[in-house]
């Protein structure tokens, strides 16, 4: 087996792993009890999945076509940068829009700060607008 | 593939028509958005699907899929975007003026 063939295989393998990771994480999306826990499954596991896939793709093109795909690299960086931000934003939005935590949750150190004082601060009272 | 996509088009059209037949402006706009999805697919399908490679010269074998429908769809997409944007803003302005997004309740021109 040539280096190229091995490289291609590695690429495909990474992609396959990515696919599996993706399915598992979507499984979490169905299974987990509340939006916060689901966000863990989504933003991380699936980020992992896509990173694996993209790396696989990068490897594939590198070995099969001897082509360094800047776009794929850029894609990887981009996902790295933005996926956690997206997760952060959604979770924050969920919490601020008062989506309840699952009953199995044990701690909430944010509740007092945000929801109990909200009436006084009235940050984003869109009913007035 | 063509048959499958055609059936998909049929489903989308059905959905869109049903949405358009409602009283709420948003549903209507949404319906029109789905309609445009459907027709873009239709244009694509009518040119034949997967009949060759990506229409980039130098890529692949030299047998290309029909590029003309792609160009047409591009134009159509942009136009439908323009219209949707305008319609959406219109809906919003209308709501602000009238306080309703229900076309059934909004009587435009009155005679008697």
């Amino acid at each position: 087996m040539s280096v190229n063939a091995i490289g291609e295989f590695v690429g495909a393998f990474l992609i396959l792993i990515g696919g599996i990771a993706s399915v598992i994480s979507v499984f979490g999306l169905i299974r987990l009890p509340d939006v916060y826990t689901r966000s863990h499954a989504a933003t991380k596991s699936s980020t992992l999945a896509v990173l694996l896939t993209l790396s696989g793709t990068f490897a594939y093109f590198l070995f099969a076509e001897h082509f360094i795909s800047v776009r794929v690299l850029l894609g990887i960086i981009f996902v790295f940068l933005t996926a956690p931000v997206a997760g952060h934003l959604i979770v924050r939005a969920a919490y601020r829009s008062k989506v309840k935590l699952a009953d199995i949750s044990t701690e909430d150190e944010l509740y007092d700060i945000l929801h109990s004082t909200e009436k006084k601060e009235s940050n984003y009272d869109h009913e007035n607008e | 593939m063509e048959t499958l996509i055609t059936i998909l088009i049929g489903v989308l059209v059905t959905v869109a028509v049903y949405l358009m037949l409602s009283k709420s402006v948003i549903r209507i706009i949404l319906g029109s958005a789905v309609l445009s999805h459907a027709v873009h697919l239709l244009l694509m399908t009518m040119g034949g699907l997967k009949k060759g490679d990506v229409p980039l010269i130098g890529e692949g074998t030299g047998k290309f899929t029909d590029a003309l429908p792609q160009a047409l769809i591009l134009t159509a997409i942009v136009i439908s975007f323009a219209v949707t944007a305008f319609l959406l803003v219109l809906a919003y302005r209308t709501y602000k003026e009238t306080g309703s997004d229900n076309l059934g309740a909004l009587r435009g021109f009155k005679d008697e």
Binding site: Y36, H40, S45, P84, V91, L101, S105, T106, E109, L110 | -
Partner: protein, 160 residues
Amino acid sequence: MPAQLLLNLFIAFLWMTLIDEDELKFTTFFAGYLVGIGIIFFMHRFFGTQFYLRRLFAIIKLLLIFISELTQSSIVVLKQILSPKLKIKPGIFKYETVLSSDSEVTMLSLLLTLTPGSVVMEVSPEGNVLYIHAMDVEQSKEGLISQLKNFEKAIMEVTR
């Protein structure tokens, strides 16, 4: 530090002219640049500042730490998802960070969020307190905090 960079570029250019090829080649320039790196690393104490590529090493180190954390916690989360019965106890806890600048806080949050099992939910207006949602507070809170400390240190090496 800009002085180091300029010097490095100068060395590379010098290298290129010394090699004296028919045409200007990027590869030659790059080779010269590498030579320059070596020279400057060797001499950097004379400038009285730190070696300007030190950050590169710090970044690589951070990346490595991150990848290892990522893999570990990914496995934890995947296990939790796949386990027949959900045994997690999610919750929100707060963490006061020693980091101060926007980019540092951001970097910490990104890294923490990317590793499974934890999401930064809020940053306090002052920017020094993070509210973190964890998949399983009871079991992994300690682990998370040590992970945070780890990250903090690595980040500071990059930024300061």
